[in-house]
């Protein structure tokens, strides 16, 4: 006896025919077969009318479809209205949430925190200007810093990065150029043209925690209590800000100007002093490096250069684990695989 199909008003042969005639799933079709696609889209003459007119797919669940929760609804609304403008960045400048919340400030990325502002970054043109000043004109870093009001460390970093960029360009290494263009459009930026606000403070002085306490120092009324005295009062090792200035040559220049040295001459002297300080720094570095090398005796064979240095094997500290100690010592367990020990390097040279 053939298997029976319940609730079916068409005979089995008819079902088989329908199956053969039904459109194939797209994955089974060859990619370009316009003829086959055309035939499947037209209704076949042998398909019974009542089949196509039958009730739509039976729903097995009797429960109502889940409604959207309130946050979900609000989220949809946000994407349609207030959040719409953020989907695609248009224009030439930053676009933060604060612009929607009508706070009057366009550079606040987090509406609740007005203390954090998105400050301008150096544009690609500005970076090129700095690189040219240092590498082509040969200006000292401090002078470039003072001229463009950019921190000395940033000037050095810009030059370092630009050098890498130029090297990569020469090597034809892959770079993220469309990304860089897009990011530059999204950020506030400075071209260092000089007619805008100074880029950043260049004479930062770190606030020492010793100087954050309130101190009562009795002094005579006639005494001149200067910054130096104040530093001394906070602690013997506390330096006055005069010694912590990043570009002390600038203070000297200002002092010269107060002492009626012409502006042009003062600036010239400033340039000479910064150049001198840079030279001194380089000489000091060289001296240290030379001294380090002098401790080592070099034996140059054809293949290797052996560098031999004298060390004191006894200087291993109280527990035999001193940082500078050299070599493996017997009797001291080597515990660098132990759990909970900090194994991440602290510096990369």
């Amino acid at each position: 006896m053939p298997p029976r199909i319940r609730n079916s008003n068409c005979p089995p042969q008819q079902l088989l025919l329908n199956y053969l005639d039904a459109p194939l799933p797209s994955s089974l079709l060859p990619v370009h077969r316009p003829a086959a696609v055309a035939s499947s889209s037209t209704p076949s003459p042998c398909r019974p009318q009542q089949q196509s007119a039958a009730a739509p797919q039976r729903c097995f669940s009797t429960s109502q479809p889940r409604e959207m929760t309130k946050p979900q609804r609000e989220f949809r609304q946000f994407l349609k209205h207030a959040g719409k403008q953020f989907e695609k960045h248009v224009g030439n400048g930053p676009m933060y949430l604060s612009s929607v919340k009508s706070m009057g400030a366009d550079d606040v990325p987090f509406p609740s925190n007005k203390m954090f502002r998105s400050e301008p970054v150096l544009s690609s043109r500005a970076r090129q200007i700095i690189w040219e000043a240092v590498m082509l004109k040969g200006m000292p870093l401090k002078a470039v810093s003072a001229q463009y009001q950019v921190d000395v460390r940033r000037v050095a970093a810009v030059v370092r990065l630009m050098e890498i960029e130029k090297r990569m360009e020469k090597e034809n290494a892959p770079m993220a150029i469309p990304y860089a263009l897009a990011v530059e459009k999204m950020l506030p930026r400075s071209n260092l043209t000089g007619d805008e606000q100074p880029f950043e403070p260049i004479n930062d002085v770190h606030v020492h925690s010793f100087t954050m306490q309130q101190l009562f120092v009795p002094v005579s009324e006639s005494r001149e209590f200067t910054r130096k005295d104040a530093a001394k009062a906070f602690g013997d090792h506390i330096l006055p800000p005069d010694h912590k200035m990043r570009i002390p040559e600038l203070v000297k220049m200002e002092r010269d100007i107060l002492n009626d040295v012409p502006q042009a001459q003062a600036e010239k002297d400033f340039l000479a002093r910064t150049r001198q300080s840079e030279r001194e720094f380089a000489e000091k570095e060289k001296y240290v490096a030379d001294k380090r090398d002098a401790r080592k005796s070099k034996v140059d064979t054809e293949r290797f250069e052996f560098r031999i240095e004298k060390i004191n094997s006894e200087a291993v500290g109280k527990k035999g684990r001193a940082r500078g100690a050299v070599g493996w010592r017997y009797g001291v367990p080597f515990n660098d695989r132990q759990r909970g020990l900090y194994k991440i390097p602290t510096s990369v040279g």
Partner: protein
């Protein structure tokens, strides 16, 4: 050993936690974040809630114990000292009078009043520096430099070996950067992280067929003789340039049509135009590739030109044209031409408008720019992101670079200049919370609860 916390309902709308991501759910959560007004519970409860909210943003992938070890109550700040002020005064003027400086008499000019300029107004927001130690971490710095779309993704980049510190591969996301450290991320990874996702629809429909030798050979027999003749006279480079010019003109023409009948065109028509301009771009790409057969580019030109001429017709006219073409070329012939499955009208020779079209200076400049863009940002289906590269949606709302980093986005490298500091009136720690919340969190970690 598990080093990372699990993600549980990361962008939950119900809890509304703000995270270190560029996600649209995160944008919404940030949008509706409200400052709690007044005191809402016991001091402990307030601290608890502040800690929970801030830790959901600041390094939520870092274990609590690890963060507790990192936390430092020493908050860094800096003040700018104006050289002109330093030169003129030695500080004794601040101790003059009764010990706190002389009063300025009302009405006298303030010109001679000693003032250290260069600092913003307002108090120094020390409490916003609570999570400053985390900003030293390599993964978070990579995120802050806009090289990854979330801190977790940045962490993954580090673990997968895509990040170098001072030229050496660094695989510890918890590496604490030292001032002066240079980190560099693989540009390809950055493009993936910050670019739009590749949708199967947009990419697969426009995938060009790479010509196989057989396909190249076939059209060579039947294509226009004119191209053959000119190929004999001109060098391959010249010929290629010529074809590129033609393609440029076509592109222009398509743009013109769109510009002129912006509101007149129907939806389907617009779609067709868009498809056409996409095909022109593809053809340009193919033509520009080194070693491409001139024949092939010539074919492209013809196809596109015929498509273009069709576009200018009204729907009724187009239907008519189609009928004509069908009558001319029997349907059986279509599948015999496997090299051009995408363009059914290929072989029909409709009048080509390219040569006759005149272009003015502005248009040619626009085209030049377009071609330049095309050159630096090409269409390339082999990339794992949508090409030409575009920034991912909702990126701009999160795009900022804090001052303690100097970033060169072109080479995807950045220098960690110094530790972040608080200055009068501003903080360098990007945190979405107000000072009150940060202060409560700071108090939590002081461990006097």
């Amino acid at each position: 050993m598990r080093c990372e916390r699990r993600i549980l309902r990361y962008h939950s709308l119900k809890r509304g936690r703000v995270r270190q991501t560029w996600n649209k759910y995160n944008l919404f959560n940030l949008f509706r974040m409200r400052d709690r007004k007044g005191n809402f519970g016991t001091f402990f409860q307030q601290k608890w809630h502040a800690k929970a909210a801030t830790r959901a943003y600041h390094g939520e992938h870092i274990k609590e114990k690890q963060w507790e070890r990192m936390f430092s109550r020493r908050l860094l700040s800096a003040v700018n000292m104006d050289p002109a002020y330093m030169a003129k005064y030695d500080g004794s003027e601040q101790a003059a009078g009764r010990g706190s400086g002389r009063d300025v008499k009302p009405g006298r000019s303030e010109k001679n009043v000693a003032r250290n300029t260069g600092n913003a107004e307002g108090m120094t927001p020390y409490m916003q520096m609570t999570f400053a130690p985390q900003e030293r971490r390599l993964d978070i710095s990579v995120f802050r430099a806009l090289f990854a779309s979330s801190a977790r993704q940045a962490r993954q980049f580090v673990i997968h070996g895509a990040v170098k510190v001072n030229g050496k591969k660094m695989q510890h996301p918890g590496y604490l950067l030292n001032p002066g450290d240079l980190f560099q991320v693989d540009p390809e990874k950055v493009m993936i992280a910050t670019g739009r996702k590749k949708t199967s629809k947009s990419e697969s429909s426009s995938t060009p067929k790479t010509p196989t030798p057989e396909e190249d050979a076939e059209p060579a027999e039947e294509t226009a003789e004119a191209a053959e003749q000119s190929a004999e006279e001109l060098s391959p480079e010249q010929l290629k340039a010529q074809h590129l010019d033609g393609l440029k003109q076509l592109h222009q023409h398509a743009r013109k049509i769109i510009e002129e009948n912006k509101d007149k065109l129907s939806g389907g028509h617009k779609k067709e135009i868009r498809e056409l301009s996409k095909k022109i771009k593809e053809a340009m790409n193919r033509a520009r590739k080194v070693g491409t057969d001139v024949q092939e580019t010539g074919d492209d030109m013809e196809n596109l030109a015929s498509l273009m001429s069709e576009l200018e017709l009204t729907p009724a006219e187009r239907a008519e044209l189609r009928q004509q073409q069908q009558a001319e070329a029997p349907a059986a012939e279509a599948p015999t031409n496997p090299s051009t499955p995408d363009y059914p009208q290929l072989r029909t020779r409709t009048p080509v408008p390219t040569a006759q079209t005149k272009f003015d200076m502005v248009e040619s400049q626009i085209l030049k720019r377009l071609l330049e863009e095309e050159k630096i940002n090409p269409w390339d289906p082999s990339k794992p992101y949508a090409t030409p590269w575009r920034p991912r949606p909702y990126m701009s709302a999160f795009a900022f670079i804090p001052r303690y980093l100097e970033v060169n986005p072109k080479i995807c490298a950045a220098v960690y200049l110094r530790h972040p500091v608080a200055r009068p009136g501003k903080t360098e720690i990007p945190t979405p919370f107000n000072m009150h919340t940060s202060q409560l969190a700071f108090n939590w970690y002081l461990r006097r609860r």
